[in-house]
Structures are given as structure tokens and as C-alpha cells.
């Protein structure tokens, strides 16, 4: 017998029967399950990691890096982040495979005893259309999980060198405050081996608090 509680005992499949399972924090040991190397566990044959694109992938290779800060300005070292982005043509590649040259999905977490920085190796995504046919600026969706976060926080990383596209992006413009909109813009800087690195710090609370979305 299921532990679920139907909203209406007479409901049958096709009716709205259940509430969504409620979220609980991923906790401090999320790495055991989702980022084994950080926990110090041996890796399985296939792991979902922070390299989303190989050198063979189409598009401009880039790095995404950042640090997550709490409301005291302290680094959230036990954070775990998932990324979801389009390919260089603006298409989401849903079928994840470890030997794809590009996967739209990746996972990253800072080292357990390191500086607290997370990092993705990927390519710059292309622009894609929103549901009403308007062009969205290139972006990477980031989901933030950690001890003390009771339900995942969803944000978007936009690119600081895409000023014109950003200005007309319908999702960025759904953020009413221009000052808050700026919390979604990653800063380009020189990266390793000539790649562009984009820095995107996430502030969970307080001054400069990052915009988080509900959808």
C-alpha cells in the first residue's frame, strides 16, 4: 500500500489525485549521492560531472565558475549545483550520455576542503525562443542545493558580453528591478588556455541577493 494520500478518495487516474512530494533539504552529504568524488567515494563507471562539452563540441568553449555566499557573507562550501543549458544552436539536448561531445546537463560541487568554488566546462549556449516566440538571451539555468536549503533555488546565468541580447530578453525583463537583474549577469574574464571564463557568484540572502525563479 502506498503511503500517498489522495486529495479525493474517489479520484481515478487522469484526475488530479496527489500533491507533489514535498521537498526536504539535500543536506551536507549530498555529494555521497550526486557528486561522489567530493565525498571521497570511488567513482562508478559513469558519473554525471561538470564537463558538459569536450573539445569536439560545436560552439565557443567556456568555463563557468562561482562561489555561493550566505546571508552572513560566508562561503557555502557544501553547495551542490546542477546546470541546464542549450547547445550552441539554442537547442536543448535532453538525451544525456557520458560519451556525448556535449550534454545540456551537468553537476558541480566545490571540493570538500577547498576554496568553495564551483566550476563547469561547457560551451556558450545559443539563444532560443520563449513560449511566445520572443528570443531569450543565451543563458544557463542553475539549480542550487545545500544543507539549509529546504527546496532547490533556481536561477539563471546570463553573459556579461551579450549586452544587447540581455536587454531584450523577456525573462530578464520579468525581473522588475534593474538592480536585481544585474545579479544574473556573469562577468567575463581570461580563463585557462585562452578560454573565456565567466564568473557568477550567487548570494543566497541580503545585499546583492541573487534572483531566484519560481516556474
Amino acid at each position: 500500500m502506498s503511503q500517498l494520500i489522495p486529495l479525493d478518495p474517489a479520484a481515478t487516474p487522469g484526475d488530479l489525485i496527489y500533491r507533489e512530494s514535498p521537498s526536504q533539504t539535500a543536506g551536507p552529504y549530498v555529494h555521497i549521492g550526486l557528486a561522489l568524488e567530493v565525498a571521497g567515494l570511488p567513482l562508478r563507471e559513469v558519473e554525471i560531472g561538470n564537463t558538459m562539452a569536450t573539445d569536439q563540441a560545436d560552439g565557443t568553449p567556456i568555463e563557468l565558475v562561482g562561489t555561493v555566499f550566505d546571508g552572513n557573507g560566508d562561503i557555502v562550501r557544501d553547495v551542490f549545483i546542477e546546470a541546464w543549458q542549450a547547445d550552441a544552436d539554442g537547442t536543448y539536448q535532453s538525451a544525456w550520455q557520458h560519451d556525448n561531445v556535449f550534454n545540456s546537463f551537468g553537476r558541480a560541487a566545490p571540493d570538500a576542503f577547498g576554496e568553495g568554488q564551483w566550476r563547469f566546462h561547457t560551451i556558450k549556449p545559443g539563444a532560443c525562443l520563449d513560449a511566445r516566440g520572443q528570443l531569450m538571451a543565451p543563458h544557463v539555468a542553475l539549480s542550487v542545493f545545500a544543507r539549509g536549503i529546504n527546496i532547490a533555488l533556481h536561477t539563471r546565468l546570463y553573459f556579461g558580453d551579450e549586452t544587447r541580447a540581455n536587454e531584450s530578453c523577456p525573462v530578464l525583463n520579468a525581473v522588475e528591478s534593474p538592480a536585481r537583474r544585474r545579479t544574473l549577469i556573469a562577468t567575463p574574464e581570461p580563463g585557462d588556455s585562452g578560454r573565456i571564463r565567466y564568473r557568477f557568484d550567487i548570494v543566497l540572502q541580503g545585499e546583492g541577493e541573487t534572483v531566484f525563479f519560481d516556474f
Binding site: 500500500m1 502506498s2 503511503q3 494520500i5 487516474p13 484526475d15 489525485i17 496527489y18 500533491r19 507533489e20 512530494s21 514535498p22 521537498s23 526536504q24 533539504t25 543536506g27 551536507p28 549530498v30 555529494h31 555521497i32 549521492g33 550526486l34 567530493v38 565525498a39 571521497g40 567515494l41 570511488p42 563507471e45 550566505d70 546571508g71 536543448y92 535532453s94 538525451a95 550520455q97 557520458h98 550534454n103 570538500a112 532560443c128 525562443l129 520563449d130 513560449a131 516566440g133 531569450m136 543563458h139 539549480s143 539549509g148 529546504n150 527546496i151 533555488l153 539563471r156 525573462v171 520579468a174 543566497l204 540572502q205 541580503g206 534572483v211 531566484f212 525563479f213 519560481d214 516556474f215
Partner: protein, 245 residues
Amino acid sequence: MTRPTHPRYLQRDRRWHPPAYAPGYKTSVPRSPRQALVSLQNPTATELTGPSFERMTLGPHDNDLLMNFRQGTEHDGLPVGERIMVFGRVLDQFGKPVPQTLVEMWQANAGGRYRHKKDQYLAPLDPNFGGVGRTITDEQGWYRFRTVRPGPYPWPNDVNSWRPAHIHMSVMGPALSSRLITQLYFEGDPLIPHCPIVHTLNDPDAVRTLTAKLDLARSRPMDALAYRFDIVTRGQFQTYFENQG
């Protein structure tokens, strides 16, 4: 480029989920946003699509925690603890199975100790237990793991806070919108009503929804008890009226 159309999802009920700020769980105090979430009335391909793992190669024991970290031979070296099976279905809010979706889990060993660089609890590691599992749901949304029942453990929150036995459960679902991480608790655990993390849930029904039930009928005689735990992801529906005239 053609305008993309993707199935949409029922609105997430934020009062049913735990709030970001739940001061009884102290770490949530500095880690909860103070600003309101920005609501996307028109979610896009970014939110309405997500990764699929149908083609991911899983190891033969990825969903069997009795086997996937054992150091010994066939006849020894099993983890210490109460042998259990955790199984159930992933359904959406309309009762529709969620097939071919990635379900991942992690847990402490029978003594309440995690195999993690940062866990310092004095209960010992079990040389034959790692504590991680993953599987893909079948066509009807069923998943199953074999493991040992995790132990409760103390943690720094109040002076004397203990976590009830629990397994962290992660499900991808069909889209970023359905992504969910939660925890499985065990029927009859006396620590459940005392746990500050359980208390981030405001509704007793929410706690019951996360409490796996003993299923004696599906238990294996002389082998392992079975606990049933179904997971519900957001209801998916088609948008029939794209053109509003």
C-alpha cells in the same frame, strides 16, 4: 526557429513544500532568500525540458547497496544492518507513471555514519557499505533498491538534535520543473516528530507522504523487509489553447 511548445506543469504549491526560512532548522536562517521569488508566468523551454537518462549505462549493482561496495567474496563481506528493500513508483500528480526517469539515493550506514570526508560521527564506517544508489524507473514508473536500514544520528542544531532514520531521494522527472530532492522516513520511527528538518514541513500530511510503509507482503522471507515509498512529481498537462484569438 519555430515557436517551441512543451507540456506545462501544475503550479508548485509553495505552502505545501517547506519554506526557505524555517528557523527551527538553524542553517536555513542564513541560507534562505529574503526577496520574493520571481514567478515566470510563461515558462520556457529552459524550464519545460530536462535531461533524460534512458541511454545512461548503469552498473549491475548500482541499485543494490548490499553489493555495490562490498569488499569480500560472494559469501562474506556484506554490510552490517537490517536488510531492506525500498521500492515504489514515481507518478505525477494525475497518477500517470513517470517512466525512464533517474532516481538516486544516498544514506548513512546502519550505525548512522555517512561515508563522507566531512562526517566525524563516532559511529564506525562499515567497510562493506558505501551508501549510494541509483536506478531508472521502468515503463510503469517502478523503481527498487536493496540496502540496509540507516541508523539515526545526532547533529548540531539544538543541543540534542537527532535525525530519524532517513534516505535522501532524488528524482529528475521529465523537466527542470519536476526536479525534486526529498527524504524518505520510516513508519514507526519515534524520532520523526522530534526532528527540526521534518518540522520544516507545516502539514502533518506532508510528513506522512514522506514516510515509507512497511510492506510485509512484498518482503522476502528469511531475507529482507520491504518498504514502499511512492514519489509524486508535478502534474504534466498539454496546453490546448495556444492561440488565444
